[in-house]
Symmetry: C2
Subunit: 222 residues, 2 copies
């Protein structure tokens, strides 16, 4: 079955589930579609894969063009290609997910002006295409990776406290964790180190700041 049996309407795209922690909730970024199909509805950012463009490069470019973010953690998730997932043409989409530190949520005005916004995962609007399924899979992957990798560290800014790191875990797992056990676990990984500085905010004891020893690196643990 050679490729020439295709008419011109085959397309390959990437879709990106961009997670962050916002207002103590797991949130993701959506864009409002400006074209058919699903015009005016919310969808995952993404774009068509260019003729000489790698898949991850396409996701990186879409991320930059539509949100102004770059240098964030980005990993391939799954490929969706059911015929009929786009009513107008056959689209095969390689889904990625990205994790954005809380200190980099500022959205640059996008190249193609369009509505862009952060939504709490628990309060998403209806999504175009099969994007709801993609989000569900990405969420599942994230929760699962939390328990056997250092992926959550990618949500942290350059400097962070152990309490902040713990809060990120609690938000993603949607359950409280024991403070002493968490700190034991986090420090035993040998992936973070104290900066020597402290963070003071509020009327309480200041907290030691930590940084990643290997920014951008995600270790498989256990």
């Amino acid at each position: 079955m050679p490729s020439c049996s295709w008419d011109r309407s085959l397309a390959v795209t990437t879709d990106i589930v961009i997670f962050t922690i916002r207002d103590r909730r797991l949130a993701l970024l959506l864009v409002k579609r400006t074209e058919a199909p699903f015009q005016g509805e919310w969808a995952l950012p993404g774009g068509f894969v260019g003729p000489d463009e790698g898949l991850k490069a396409c996701a990186t470019r879409a991320l930059d063009e539509q949100t102004g973010m770059s240098g964030v953690y980005l990993e391939q998730l799954y490929t969706f290609g059911d015929p009929g997932r786009d009513p107008l043409q056959r689209v095969i989409s390689i889904a990625y997910y990205a994790l954005v530190p809380s200190d980099r949520l500022a959205l640059r005005a996008p190249a193609e002006p369009q509505a862009v916004g952060w939504f709490a995962l628990e309060q998403l609007p209806p999504l175009a295409f099969d994007h709801c399924e993609i989000v569900a899979l990405a969420h599942h992957r994230l929760v699962s990776k939390l328990t056997y990798s250092t992926i959550a560290f990618q949500f942290m800014g350059e400097k962070f406290t152990l309490s902040e790191l713990q809060a990120v875990h609690e938000i993603i797992l949607a359950q409280r964790v024991d403070k002493r056990n968490f700190r034991k676990w986090a420090l035993a990984l040998e992936q973070i180190e104290p900066t020597g500085e402290e963070r003071r905010d509020g009327k309480h004891r200041p907290a030691q700041l930590y940084r990643l020893k290997f920014p951008g690196r995600v270790e498989i643990i256990r």
Copy 2:
């Protein structure tokens, strides 16, 4: 960047890493290419995704057409799409991996006659395209899943002994495991049950035969 910027040479394919246990080794199935590029070289089986064909359906069809096998465990692995991975056209390939029970290795004469054969993973010939990378990733995924799922059960025939199941684990992990601990682990999963029959072979005590309670089902454990 709309899809019409593509010329006709975009293609989407699936490639399948078909694992089995053969001669007490982890082995996989390769086909000899009959067309350019890489004509005459060994490659993973696979095929072009049809205009109205789902991705998994494409992999299933390729598996059937090129090897005569059907009904085996099949899971999406990763999508490879570097420009230049095929020298003649832009090809984006969704890789799958399949696990074949040892009692189903008979290869039907393929629809399009071509050389097909099983190769020990440790003694693969040079492979076409980036298939070596695909195999490496599939192998990594398999080893990794072994420790947190019941995936190895998919290598077993309809009836099997605990020693045979243990051997499969030892072959994939490339290390011996303790017999008593392994049996404790395997039985505690509650995924297998005795058939009541015994297997006699050789001059030794016969072994209890077991079967899967839920054939085709892979449980995440731990």
